[in-house]
């Protein structure tokens, strides 16, 4: 019998519990126990970023991360980004720049952009490319993604200045 265990963690700001098996990944945890499909498995090898989630504030690949390892941690997914006040400025920027076609890669790019802008509020195009080099977009919307990141950066700076 596979060993099951109960883990407790914070999911998008809410304390939750889940019963899992030791070999489950974070993608399986989110999809099967919480019906959250924003993080999805595509390459399954850490290369494409479609499964990006944040664990204790750091971006990780949910496809390569054991669910057991988020016990006690804080997990943030794309589903937690918008507030009752509306979309996050990064989400708005991706829409305004038309930075997707099918949208499969978008949740990963948006979460990575959030971390990028926390670390580098005004990134150069080279910084954007190297930071996002582990995210792939099969529809090839890279030029629009770079524009979206720049737009998100100026939106964030403007809202900081206004605050």
């Amino acid at each position: 019998m596979p060993q099951t265990r109960t883990i407790s963690f914070t999911l998008n700001g809410r304390p939750v519990n889940a019963e899992i098996e030791a070999h489950h990944t974070v993608v399986e945890l989110l999809q099967e126990r919480f019906a959250l499909f924003g993080a999805r498995e595509s390459c399954g090898q850490g290369l494409c970023g479609c499964c990006t989630v944040k664990v204790d504030g750091e971006a990780v690949s949910g496809c390569l991360y054991l669910a057991s390892f988020v016990d006690g941690a804080s997990v943030d997914t794309i589903e937690g980004m918008a507030t009752s006040g509306g979309l996050d400025p990064i989400q708005e920027a991706f829409i305004e720049a038309g930075a997707f076609q099918c949208g499969f890669c978008t949740s990963g790019f948006i979460l990575m952009t959030q971390r990028l802008l926390e670390e580098h509020p005004d990134p150069t195009p080279d910084k954007i490319k190297s930071y996002l080099s582990g995210n792939l977009c099969r529809c090839g919307t890279y030029p629009e993604i770079i524009k979206a990141v720049q737009l998100a950066s100026s939106k964030r700076r403007a809202s900081k200045a206004a605050a």
């Binding site: 060993q3 990944t25 970023g49 990780v60 496809c63 990575m112 190297s130």
Partner: protein, 290 residues
């Protein structure tokens, strides 16, 4: 993935005691980035994994020592090394290498110990650490021993660690003005595994090379110091001619493997050119300060 059991000890000593030298299906797991790939592709199906993630926090810390070297616990993340201000300043070659190692998410999770124990000859840190003359402390039920990086790698995906021995920490000595550089040579896409890695470190006094370390990886079975190239450099003046002679010596001596990233003759040519380039890179401003 095939189900397995997971143990999560609180101390390093307990983790060591949970390994079984007779049972290769029990393995330690740190970041899990390499193991998950092997388990997902059924290359490896463990019966039990022993997670090192809950052990004492000092095994996750990275410090510059008073002498100017690095002490990094085995559980330290590659991203922690990359962002450590002291390392960026004193070991620019490490910061440069980490920036091109995989992607942000992998570096946030992958650990120093997992990186070294995996012993994939295409990896980027092992040749650099060999050029920097680093060593690891290994811990087993019978005690603790120091292993120079050059002796840690025994072959293709093979280390000299005993089955019940773990890497506890990495030490990199102060470089005392030595200069160094790494070149990762990919032949298909920028994110592919390299066909060749070259790491060099030079001790230079008044324009003369006093001592050289030249390491070749990826094209060979394990990161390897190229002694003929090192001898060619010793006592030579810093010059394009000396760098070319070293490249030639390394290309002749290396035991090169053909694979999908290039034939052996092609990789030999890559060695010839890139050893000289790495030496030039180390002696330009890019390698200074390390």
């Amino acid at each position: 993935m095939i189900p397995f059991e997971l143990s999560e000890p609180d101390t390093f000593a307990e983790a060591v005691s949970l390994l079984d030298p007779e049972d290769p299906t029990i393995r330690p797991i740190a970041g899990g980035t390499a193991l998950m790939l092997m388990m997902k592709s059924n290359v490896f199906s463990p019966s039990r994994l022993v997670s090192l993630r809950g052990v004492e926090t000092r095994y996750s810390e990275v410090d510059l020592t008073p002498e100017g070297g690095i002490r990094a616990g085995a559980l330290a993340r590659l991203g922690t090394l990359e962002r450590h201000a002291g390392i960026v300043g004193a070991f620019p070659v490490l910061a440069d290498t980490l920036r091109i190692l995989s992607n942000v998410r992998v570096r946030n999770v992958a650990t120093v110990g997992g990186n070294l124990a995996h012993a994939d000859p295409h990896m980027d840190l092992p040749p650099v650490l060999l050029a920097l003359d680093a060593s690891v402390t290994a811990i087993s039920p019978s005690g603790q021993r120091m292993i120079p990086i050059g002796d840690l790698f025994a072959g293709y995906y093979e280390t000299s660690l005993a089955p019940d021995e773990l890497i506890g920490e990495l030490s990199v000595p102060a470089q005392n003005g030595r200069v160094s550089a790494y070149i990762k040579c990919t032949t298909r896409s920028a994110h592919d595994w390299p066909a060749l890695g070259v790491a060099v470190s030079l001790d230079i006094a008044e324009g003369t090379i006093v001592d050289a370390r030249v390491v070749v990886s990826a094209a060979v079975e394990k990161p390897t110091r190229m002694q003929d190239a090192e001898i060619a450099l010793k006592g030579a003046s810093v010059s394009e001619a000396a760098f070319r002679a070293a490249g030639e010596a390394a290309a002749v001596a290396a035991d090169v493997i053909s694979d999908v990233r290039g034939s052996a003759p092609y990789k030999r040519q890559l060695i010839r050119v890139n050893v000289a380039r790495a030496l030039a890179k180390a002696t330009s401003s890019g390698g200074m300060g390390s």
